[in-house]
Each structure stands twice: as structure tokens, then as C-alpha cells.
């Protein structure tokens, strides 16, 4: 069964201190390696900074392109994994191991719909 792990990071207000326990680059590398070695990796990417995002909407055949969105909520999507594991408990274990679940961040686990 495939699950998407959506990795949200807490936004840091300018002038405020960052999270107490920020994940290091090495920890992310180690996690990525573990996901691959476990044979559960389907896909996964980390996303570039939110300031590079562009929104497209089509209404009545008209295309509208706008800059953003900007972070209006406290948490922003920073990347994702799709993993293939037997059940939700295993998916939750991988979410808990993900460095993105710490330091004020959160990982949302969603089953991939099967048709």
C-alpha cells in the first residue's frame, strides 16, 4: 500500500529564533538512505523555497498566473516521500523517523488512492 508523507516545516518569523532541534543535512541524508535501503521508496523530492512558487488557475478558459502563495499558515510544505509499506503502522513509523517530524515540523501521512 502506498502512502505519501507530506513534510511540513514550521515557518520561522524574521527576528525569531529557529526550532530548538533542527534536523541536520546529515540526518536527512541518512533518512533518505534508509528509505532506499528498506526497498520502500517510490518517489520523493524536496521543494525549493516557497518564494519561488507560482499559482495557476483557469476559470472560464482564462488563465491566471500569480506569484505565491505566500506562507499564510504556520507550516509550509517542504517536500514529500511516497513509500510502499504493508500498513498504516509501518507508514507511521517511517513518518516518526523522518527528520521533518521534529523541531516544530510535522509529517502528514496520507494513503494514495487506489482505483
Amino acid at each position: 500500500m502506498k502512502y505519501m508523507l507530506l513534510i511540513y516545516s514550521a515557518t520561522v518569523e524574521p527576528g525569531c529564533e529557529g526550532p530548538e532541534d533542527p534536523a541536520t543535512f546529515e540526518e536527512w541524508m541518512a533518512y533518505d538512505k534508509a528509505v532506499h535501503e528498506a526497498g520502500i521508496h517510490v518517489s520523493g523530492h524536496s521543494l525549493a523555497d516557497l518564494t519561488t512558487a507560482t499559482t495557476v488557475q483557469v476559470a472560464g478558459g482564462e488563465r491566471s498566473v500569480t506569484d505565491g502563495p505566500f506562507a499564510e499558515t504556520r507550516e509550509i510544505l517542504g517536500g514529500y516521500y511516497v513509500i510502499d509499506v504493508p500498513d498504516l503502522d509501518v507508514a507511521l513509523d517511517w513518518a516518526a523517523r523522518c527528520p521533518g517530524s521534529r523541531g516544530g515540523g510535522a509529517v502528514v501521512v496520507r494513503p494514495v488512492a487506489e482505483f
Partner: protein
């Protein structure tokens, strides 16, 4: 459902759910099998192995149903095969069904389900209550409860919450969730949060029954013993807790001859099991406090110093202002009302006590004991505004009349 089959129903459902990974199908064919038994057994006689008969019949019904519904069958086939591969059940020697209810307990109490749905599913799947009965238990309309149960079962199926018992390393994280579900059912029966009645003994009795099943399934878990002990010791007072008009009777005023002695004795035995062989857990400590009340002939001869000590331990395990209120009342019994009141006043402004009527009610009682009638009346009025059941409000009005010289115009 006929009462005799309620125990069988839970076992049957657990076996089928584990096998199919689908609670809906399991429920449907379990009900079919029991219906078949009700028709056939009076004619053919009860089979040698009733459990195995029910399981075989239910599986045959499942195959029938899957033949009728191909799309459903295709979706289920993948699940089914994987589940069978992962958990091929070991056939027991005598051919009777292995008891697979433990995994159903953990699935129904899974943290990925909404907290309010966990108790509902547990009552429905393990206690064998119908949806309208579960709705009555939580004082919601049957249609609302039906929706909640459907939503929870859909999440189990679609997100594939597994039917499995967590490993030993996961138990410390997962078992408290199962115990919490059973205890929340008990407290709703013991002290209804709303409605016409103060307590609903049948619902509390269901919680006791569930804890007994869990105790048989996990005999080595001390907190399971502690939970069962706590509920037995409190449930033992059910007949003495309400007066002739349904009004609450406080611990100190209860006729202890009406306490259920055999239940207290059973509870006391379990407290020993709960507190032996390792550090105490919160249910074991609360059970020990309840046991001290159960052993005492009256309030005066209760071992209050020991009660306070146990509350200290409990506060260390679960720091909670509600526990602190109970501890302050025990301190008042040990050292006098003044000392207890000072502790209660120290909890003022605690956000988690906002809306908790036992807090102002406890303050009011201590103020009344100190002869500060005006302040006691104000605190009783505060409690009156917050109390959820009519018998409690009637009792508080009565206490208010005791301390207030003039009938208050607000109530």
C-alpha cells in the same frame, strides 16, 4: 443480539476482521452466522465446537457475498491475500478458535482514529452493542453515531490500519490508549457528563466487562489489573452513590452496607497484582486509593495520611490539576479544612479547571465547614452553573440552601 452470543460475537468478529482486514464485511457475516445459529441450533442441537461452527458459517457467508459483489471482491482480494500471508493463524490443538480479540482492542483504540470514535467502535465491536445502544451511551442521535462509526470503519479500511497486537517495544506507547478507551466508557457510565441521570450503571458495567476480557488476554500487564481493580472498587459503590430521588450521595454520607463487598474484595486482590513487581502505574495507584476507601468503615477511620501519600505518587505520574483538587480534599481530611482550602485556592486560574464543577463544589464544602457561609454560597452558585446533570444541580441547590440564608434569585 441475544445476550449469550455477545461474548461469541466479539471473538468471531475479531477472527473475521483479522482475516479479511475489513470490519464491515466481518460484522455483516458474523451477524449472519449468529442468525443461522439461532435458527439451526434449536432444531439440530448445539454443535460440539460452537465457535468453530460460527466461524465456518461466517466464512461461507463471506464467500457468498463476495461472489455477489465482484468489484468489492477484487478490492478485497489484495488485502485478504496479504493479510493471510502476514498473519497465518496457528490452529489451536483442540480446534477451538484462538482468541484474537486483543488485536481488535488495539485497532479500535488506534491513535489514528478520532478519540471520540475509539470508544464507540470498542463498544460496538467488543462489547457487542448495537449502533442505537452506542448512540444512547454517548447521548447522540443514532444517525450521528451511525455516521461516526461508518467514518471510523472507512478509515480503518482505506488507510489500512492493521489488525495486529503491537510488539513489546510498542506496548508502553499503545496500551495506555486501550486502557483510556475503556476508562472513558466507565466514567461516562459512572458520572454522566449530561442528561437526566447521574450514573448509568449498565454502561459502567460494560466497561468492567471489557476490562475483564482484556485482563484475561493480557494477564501480565499490571496496569490492566490496576484499571480493572479501580473500576470494580468504584463500581462497588453504585447503589450507595445515589439517593431515592437520584440525587448524588457524597462518599462521606454513603451507606457503606450497600457497597458491593464481593466486588471490593475482588478489586483489592487485583490492586496487589497491580502494585507488585515493578513501579506503580496511574491506574494501580488510583485503585489503591479506592481500596483504602473500600476498607474503611467510615470517613473518620479512613487512612487519610496514606491517601494523601498515594495522591502525591499519582501527581508525580500524571501531573493534573484535577488530581490536585482530589489531593487537596484528602489533605483537608488529614490536616483540617483550612489546609485543604489553601491548596484549592492555589489552583485558582488553572485553565484546565475552568468549567470543572467539582472544583468550586469542593471549595464550597470546605468554606461551609469553616463557617464562611457567604463565600460558600458563591462557590456553590459557581458549581451550579457548571454541573451537567439535573441530579447534580438539584444536589447543589440543596447545599446552597443550607448555607445561604435567603433563597437566591438566580436559580
Amino acid at each position: 443480539m441475544v445476550a449469550v452470543f455477545r461474548e461469541e460475537h466479539g471473538r468471531l468478529l475479531a477472527s473475521l476482521a483479522g482475516r479479511f482486514g475489513d470490519l464491515d464485511l466481518a460484522e455483516e457475516v458474523a451477524a449472519d452466522a449468529i442468525e443461522a445459529a439461532l435458527t439451526r441450533w434449536p432444531v439440530d442441537g448445539v454443535p460440539d465446537r460452537p465457535g468453530a461452527w460460527l466461524l465456518t458459517t461466517a466464512r461461507r457467508k463471506a464467500i457468498d457475498r463476495l461472489r455477489r459483489d465482484q468489484a468489492y471482491a477484487a478490492r478485497l482480494a489484495a488485502l485478504h491475500l496479504e493479510a493471510e500471508r502476514a498473519t497465518a493463524p496457528a490452529p489451536s490443538l483442540d480446534g477451538e478458535l484462538p482468541d484474537e480479540r486483543l488485536q481488535l482492542f488495539f485497532t479500535c483504540a488506534h491513535p489514528a482514529l478520532a478519540a471520540e470514535d475509539r470508544a464507540a467502535l470498542t463498544l460496538r465491536c467488543l462489547a457487542g452493542l448495537t449502533t442505537p445502544e452506542v448512540a444512547r451511551a454517548f447521548l447522540v442521535p443514532p444517525a450521528t453515531m451511525a455516521q461516526r462509526i461508518v467514518r471510523a470503519k472507512r478509515k480503518i479500511r482505506q488507510a489500512r490500519i492493521p489488525f495486529r497486537v503491537p510488539g513489546l517495544d510498542e506496548l508502553p506507547e499503545r496500551l495506555p490508549g486501550v486502557l483510556q478507551v475503556i476508562y472513558s466508557i466507565f466514567t461516562e457510565g459512572y458520572a454522566a457528563s449530561a442528561g437526566p441521570d447521574l450514573q448509568r450503571p449498565a454502561l459502567a458495567g460494560e466497561a468492567v466487562r471489557l476490562a475483564r476480557i482484556l485482563r484475561r488476554l493480557m494477564p501480565a500487564e499490571r496496569e490492566v489489573a490496576g484499571l480493572l481493580a479501580l473500576m470494580l472498587l468504584v463500581h462497588a459503590r453504585r447503589d450507595a452513590r445515589t439517593g431515592p430521588h437520584g440525587e448524588p450521595v457524597l462518599l462521606g454520607d454513603q451507606d457503606r452496607a450497600r457497597w458491593d463487598r464481593s466486588m471490593i474484595d475482588e478489586g483489592r486482590g487485583l490492586v496487589v497484582a497491580a502494585l507488585t513487581g515493578g513501579p506503580p502505574g496511574p491506574y494501580g495507584v488510583q485503585a489503591a486509593i479506592a481500596a483504602l476507601h473500600g476498607e474503611a468503615d467510615d470517613v473518620a477511620s479512613t487512612d487519610w495520611p496514606q491517601v494523601v501519600k498515594l495522591y502525591d505518587v499519582l501527581l508525580g505520574l500524571t501531573p493534573s490539576p484535577v488530581v490536585a483538587v482530589n489531593r487537596a480534599v484528602a489533605v483537608a481530611m488529614r490536616d483540617g479544612a483550612e489546609a485543604g482550602l489553601a491548596l484549592l485556592d492555589g489552583l485558582a486560574g488553572e485553565p484546565r479547571l475552568r468549567g470543572h464543577h467539582p472544583y468550586p463544589a469542593a471549595r464550597a464544602e470546605l468554606l461551609a465547614r469553616l463557617g464562611r457561609r457567604g463565600e460558600a454560597a458563591a462557590a456553590f452558585r459557581e458549581a451550579l452553573d457548571l454541573a451537567g446533570t439535573e441530579p447534580e444541580r438539584a444536589f447543589l441547590r440543596h447545599r446552597l440552601a443550607d448555607v445561604a440564608p435567603d433563597p437566591p434569585d438566580r436559580v
